[in-house]
């Protein structure tokens, strides 16, 4: 499959057409979507019409944008005017948002063409897409295994070469973990770099939208398009989008990179070996590798599973059957709310709503939610201390390669542990990238993770690019 960079270049130059690129994408989807269950919604005709419009604009000599004619898939928790948006939940089945997420507007302005919405764990709660109300997505590299989650559909779309790039959201690892399991690049940007306006919230203080791509340059290109201040998101960073593509080839010469024990401890031996090999590759490219221990990272998971559910319990209160989505009738409003929520939410969502409600309750707040906030502060301080010593951190993205369906569904804690290395970044509001490096069990790809402080995306892309080159892929 051609990269987004190549497609946009050729479409703009008239060497290819958006329509041809879209047809290629649609036929790749047709070939495997029934098998893999990647898309919840595909707008074939709409996408082709938009593609032809791009071609007309090119023909008129207009500047169509950085992603001219590039097919792109959206995680189904992003609002797009008139397009069914479910967040993987029955409770939103049939709902069509009357407005566009900021990210959708930016993507459309860049000339890219949104052709569909991808499967996900319900309300982004999960690490395998097994929590989707619409059936799991299968890993294109081995359909007996999960693609990771919660943005499993968007990761699979790119891995199956259905679209060169896609959009996900990352609350505790939901971009990086599926990127690792599907053998592609996934970025969790600095909190506030990408507007959350129009992203169906799971945990507002942790959620961040980011790109999936086959390679580092495409990921940087897409992030440049979707980043930048948005007055509709109060937590949006004040500055315009940073320049990223221009720094992809900057290398790591002189960069100090900390290899953090807590970010690979407990991982499969293949994964540990890949992380060590990545450290070696970065050293060879001129980085200074320093072994570090950040014990606070071990506290991240517990804090995350209080803060995330607490915010979710409030964010998901609006799904009550009164205004939109599912309504299960009953004798009065309270009974209707209850019946709707009982029928509309899946088990994991209910579990987290209960956890979060409990953690915020009078008498328990201090011991649970309050304590978790203190841990979050510790985490922020721990990162800040680490970044006194080094420029970036290195570790694994996940403890294992893609796992089999059903292997963790009966044990929520085992599932939660898939995100143990990715969660600290969300708690701190920092940036991180997962890039494929080496292989593990059954020849499946391993993802290594590079972590940086807020606004360090350019350096992260440069370091990830070094690994990409050393790892042998494009």
């Amino acid at each position: 499959m051609r990269t987004a960079f190549e497609i946009a270049r050729d479409v703009r130059a008239g060497a290819s057409s958006a329509e041809v690129e879209m047809e290629r994408s649609l036929s790749a989807i047709k070939a495997r979507n029934d098998e893999l269950n990647v898309f919840l919604y595909i707008d074939e005709e709409g996408a082709l019409a938009l593609a032809r419009r791009v071609d007309e604009r090119v023909a008129r000599g207009e500047d169509v944008g950085a992603l001219a004619g590039v097919p792109i898939a959206l995680k189904d928790n992003l609002c797009q005017t008139g397009v069914p948006t479910t967040a993987g939940s029955r409770i939103l089945e049939g709902w069509r948002p009357p407005y566009n997420a900021t990210v959708v507007e930016l993507i459309e302005q860049s000339g890219a063409i949104v052709m569909g919405k991808t499967n996900m764990d319900e309300f982004a709660m999960g690490s395998s897409t097994e929590n989707s109300a619409f059936g799991p997505t299968k890993n294109p590299l081995d359909p007996s295994r999960v693609p990771g989650g919660s943005s499993g559909g968007s990761a699979a779309a790119v891995a199956a070469e259905m679209t060169p790039i896609s959009i996900g959201s990352d609350t505790g690892g939901s971009i990086r973990q599926p990127a690792a399991l599907c053998g592609i690049v996934g970025v969790k940007p600095t909190y506030g770099l990408v507007s959350r306006y129009g992203l169906i919230a799971f945990a507002s203080s942790l959620d961040q939208i980011g790109p999936f791509a086959k390679n580092v340059t495409d990921a940087a290109l897409l992030l440049e398009v979707i980043a930048g201040h948005d007055p509709r998101d109060s937590t949006s960073l004040p500055e315009p989008a940073p320049s990223l593509v221009a720094h992809v080839e900057d290398g790591v010469k002189g960069q100090r990179i900390g290899l953090v024990r807590e970010l690979y401890d407990g991982a499969d031996p293949h994964v540990v070996a890949s992380v060590q090999a990545a450290a070696e590759a970065l050293r060879e490219a001129g980085a200074v590798i320093q072994e570090l221990s950040v014990p606070e990272f071990r506290l991240g998971l517990s804090a995350y599973y209080l803060i995330g559910p607490a915010e979710a319990s409030s964010n998901l209160a609006r799904y009550d059957g009164v205004r939109y989505g599912l309504r299960v009738g009953a004798d009065d409003v309270t009974a209707m709310n209850e019946a709707t929520r009982t029928a509309g939410f899946g088990a994991e969502v209910k579990r987290r709503i209960m956890l979060g409600t409990y953690a915020l309750s009078a008498g328990y707040y201090d011991a649970y939610y309050g304590q978790a906030l203190k841990v979050r502060t510790l985490m922020i301080d721990a990162f800040a201390n680490a970044y006194q010593k080094v420029d970036l951190l290195l570790g694994a993205t996940t403890p294992s390669v893609a796992f089999n369906f059903g292997s963790k569904t009966s044990d929520p804690i085992a599932m939660y542990l898939s995100d143990v290395y990715t969660i600290p970044t969300n708690l701190a509001g920092d940036a991180a990238i997962s890039v494929p490096f080496g292989t593990g069990e059954a020849g499946l790809p391993v993802g290594v993770q590079l972590l940086g402080p807020g606004r360090s995306e350019a350096r992260l892309f440069a370091a990830a690019r070094v690994l990409e080159v050393a790892g042998g892929s494009s």
């Binding site: 928790n77 992003l78 609002c79 948006t85 967040a87 939103l92 709902w95 948002p97 009357p98 407005y99 997420a101 959350r196 306006y197 129009g198 992203l199 169906i200 919230a201 945990a203 507002s204 203080s205 007055p231 509709r232 998101d233 109060s234 937590t235 607490a310 915010e311 319990s313 409030s314 209160a317 609006r318 009550d320 009164v322 205004r323 939109y324 009065d332 409003v333 309270t334 709310n337 409600t357 915020l360 309750s361 009078a362 707040y365 939610y369």
Partner: protein, 474 residues
């Protein structure tokens, strides 16, 4: 009402005021009363999935103005979510302020010299409005419920007094004075009947010197009269309970204007658990010194000060005039009255025209101070009768314009002081006998001369002015 011997009532008031902003608190929808249901709505104030709040700067201006007027500590504050389910609350949480309100502490001095402490005056968003149809007419057991979200997200300030109020009359004076402040600061139109100002009363009773008793919260107080009646009823109810050896149960009670009674709305077995936590979609509200000074500096004179200023310009006012003075302050006509007094208009006349003609008008926007003063001067000089002056004012209020031109157009003959004097002189000359008897003290003959003047001026003269002319010649 006086309390039964040995008993004291303790009252604290929560006053909610809608802020007079152009747009809502967190979105650009119009903040307007009386529009077609669900027309002033958007994804944000409907709480649609993915929408995010952005704080209205003007709402903060007005909230701070209230704080400065109440001598509060104004500054750094944060927003929290107050979580509970109700169908007219689209997110099933209300964005409010909790432990760090924008205004904390303060006091309000009442005209009788007493002082009521202010605990806080915080910002929050209003809910929509539900109408229950058929069946019970309440949320449970109604046939149908209709929700109008036009009010959803309208900015509110909740002003919480200390438990310092000791009589229903004092409670009334507090709300009345507070309304004056809200109107004067431009924060609210102060209309209780439209729900712009809503009052909840916390009432308890105790024997003198004892600790506070159990309190009940009374809702649905839509006028100053209801407030006063409800507090009296409730205090007596509690005294009767206690005197008969029963206990007051902590509960929320509903005031019924028709029956003149309060009744149980819901019992507070334990404090409701709203699971307050920091609103993660908003950032800290940190008004800098320049912003605060700007607001404080633009705050005009407050009612107490304005009342004293106008009072000092009235010579020996009657109690009716003192009542009129309160109305004039409330309606903001005091500057107009003082301008007139400065231009040698009699204070009583200016007050009377303001409290009658101006107060009755829908708007005084078209009436310039110059036109007001000129009309009154013409009346005072006898160029217009009282009836004519009122007609001219009515015309000025409705259409604006020049009082002389209006008087001329209406055919009110220009009866200048000079021409009245000349008329009186010539009539005296024509009736020497009657004049002699008048000069000797027969006041009845004043009527004779008034009749002559009226006849010769076709009723345009002012009786009082004629008497003044006659007296001047006696």
């Amino acid at each position: 009402m006086t309390m039964p011997e040995g008993w004291e009532m303790v009252v604290g008031l929560e006053v909610h005021t809608e802020l007079k902003t152009t747009t809502k608190m967190f979105c650009g929808c119009a903040n307007a009363f009386g529009a077609e249901p669900n027309t002033n709505v958007c994804p944000v104030c409907l709480g649609l999935p993915g929408s995010l709040p952005v704080l209205n700067r003007r709402a903060v201006d007005l909230a701070m103005a209230i704080g400065f007027a109440l001598h509060s500590k104004v500054g750094f504050s944060t927003f929290h979510r107050k979580n509970y389910f109700y169908p007219d609350m689209p997110k099933n949480f209300q964005i409010s302020q909790y432990d760090l309100p924008i205004n904390s502490g303060g006091y309000l001095d009442l005209p009788d010299g007493t002082r009521v402490s202010i605990e806080r005056a915080h910002l929050e968003e209003d809910t929509g409005k539900t109408t229950h149809l058929g069946g019970s007419g309440r949320i449970h057991g109604a046939d149908r419920s209709l929700v109008d979200y036009n009010r959803s997200g309208v900015p509110l300030v909740e002003i919480v007094s200390g438990p310092d109020i000791r009589s229903s009359a004092q409670a009334r004076a507090y709300v009345s004075e507070l309304r004056g402040i809200l109107i004067a600061s431009g924060a609210s139109d102060g209309r209780m009947e439209e729900g712009s100002v809503r009052v909840d009363a916390n009432v308890s009773v105790r024997r003198a010197g004892e600790p506070y008793g159990t309190r009940c919260e009374i809702k649905n107080l839509n006028s100053l009269r209801s407030l006063q009646r409800a507090i009296d009823y409730e205090a007596l109810r509690q005294v009767e309970l206690l005197e008969s050896g029963r206990a007051v149960r902590q509960e929320t009670r509903h005031w019924d204007e028709d029956s003149g009674e309060t009744s149980t709305m819901r019992v507070k077995e334990e404090a409701e658990d709203y699971r307050y936590f920091r609103e993660p979609d908003l950032v800290d509200l940190v008004p800098d010194e320049a912003w605060k000074e700007g607001v404080a500096g633009s705050l005009g004179a407050l009612p107490a000060e304005r009342r004293a200023r106008l009072r000092s310009r009235l010579a020996d006012p009657s109690s009716a005039q003192l009542d009129a003075l309160d109305v004039v302050i409330d309606l903001g006509f005091d500057d107009l009255v003082i301008t007139a007094i400065n231009d040698n208009i009699d204070g009583a006349l200016a007050l009377a025209r303001a409290v009658n003609e101006l107060a009755a008008a829908e708007s005084v926007e078209l009436l310039t101070p110059e036109a007001f003063v000129e009309t009154l001067a013409m009346e005072q000089r006898g160029e217009l009768s009282a009836t004519q002056a009122k007609t001219v004012l009515g015309e000025l209020l409705a259409h604006g314009g020049d009082p002389r031109a209006i008087a001329a157009a209406k055919g009110f003959e220009q009866l200048t002081a000079g021409s009245l004097a000349a008329t009186v002189d010539s009539l005296i000359a024509e009736h020497p006998d009657e004049w002699a008897r008048y000069r000797e003290g027969d006041d009845k003959l004043a009527q004779f001369f008034i009749g002559l003047v009226m006849k010769s001026t076709s009723g345009q003269a002012d009786g009082k002015a004629v008497v003044a002319e006659l007296r001047a010649r006696r």
